[in-house]
Symmetry: C2
Subunit: 146 residues, 2 copies
Amino acid sequence: MISYPLLLEKFQTILKENSLKFTKQRELILKFLYENDGHFTPEDIYRLIKEENPNINIGIATVYRTLTLLETSQIASSISFGVQGKKYELGLKKHHDHLICNQCGDIIEFFDEVIEERQEEIAKKFNFKMIDHTMKIVGLCENCQK
Amino acid sequence: MISYPLLLEKFQTILKENSLKFTKQRELILKFLYENDGHFTPEDIYRLIKEENPNINIGIATVYRTLTLLETSQIASSISFGVQGKKYELGLKKHHDHLICNQCGDIIEFFDEVIEERQEEIAKKFNFKMIDHTMKIVGLCENCQK
DNA sequence: CTGACTGCAAAATCTTTGCAAAGAC
DNA sequence: GTCTTTGCAAAGATTTTGCAGTCAG
């Protein structure tokens, strides 16, 4: 896993390349995603950053804007929950898919080589240029089945 | 594939079982999904039904309510597109997954036995009770690569 | 300095809800 | 007749945008 200083550097490089500025708010959001393993809504991120940094001012719009930027830069990635919006996570980990618990909302990550390969083959079969793929298994986690 | 009269009967049975009423609007939405192979937003469905039936009154709220009902009844199913909402299709076909073109929005359906099996195995491995699963391969379709 | 970024509030989307009238059974 | 459904418009929820002031480089 990448270290935080390296991640920060990567982000700053991307910003520089695009004549964008490195701001306190952008750093806080990056740091939040780095430090908090999991999947968060923009609202979650906004609220938790405010809680942890009562002295800093940050607006929800900035969170949305920054998350979009981070996703475009391939530093973060999101999974969507239909009408309930998206959740973001740091996107530098190895690609993986998700098991999502319907009851408690818990998200388990997994990676399966066989599925990855089949996906490539399917895309090829349809002459489809695959950019991304997501797989969600929805159900009940071990705890919630009790 | 199920015939329309049979589908209609199935729907009516479900309605009766739940003391719900069979209305013109509900039938139109069911018929629309049956006759139109593809994936539609609630807005699409609303608009197209109105176009095809200028004499009939139908509100967008009814479309939403009915789609929810159809999905709960497992007659329709939806795939979500993040903030951009959901698209619905008749859900009685054999389970399948989707290739989604980023450019033109086209959706190609596919089914792969190997992936299906692996999903079962993964769920088992995590003691996860699988209720549903979706897989989306996002990219560029054959046409849009040109 | 200059142009990008920010927070705010307003706007835009998409979906749901409250309600009185209409319709199914 | 009774109870559900409907359309409408208003309300919600989530996300985006316009703008004037602020800040990074």
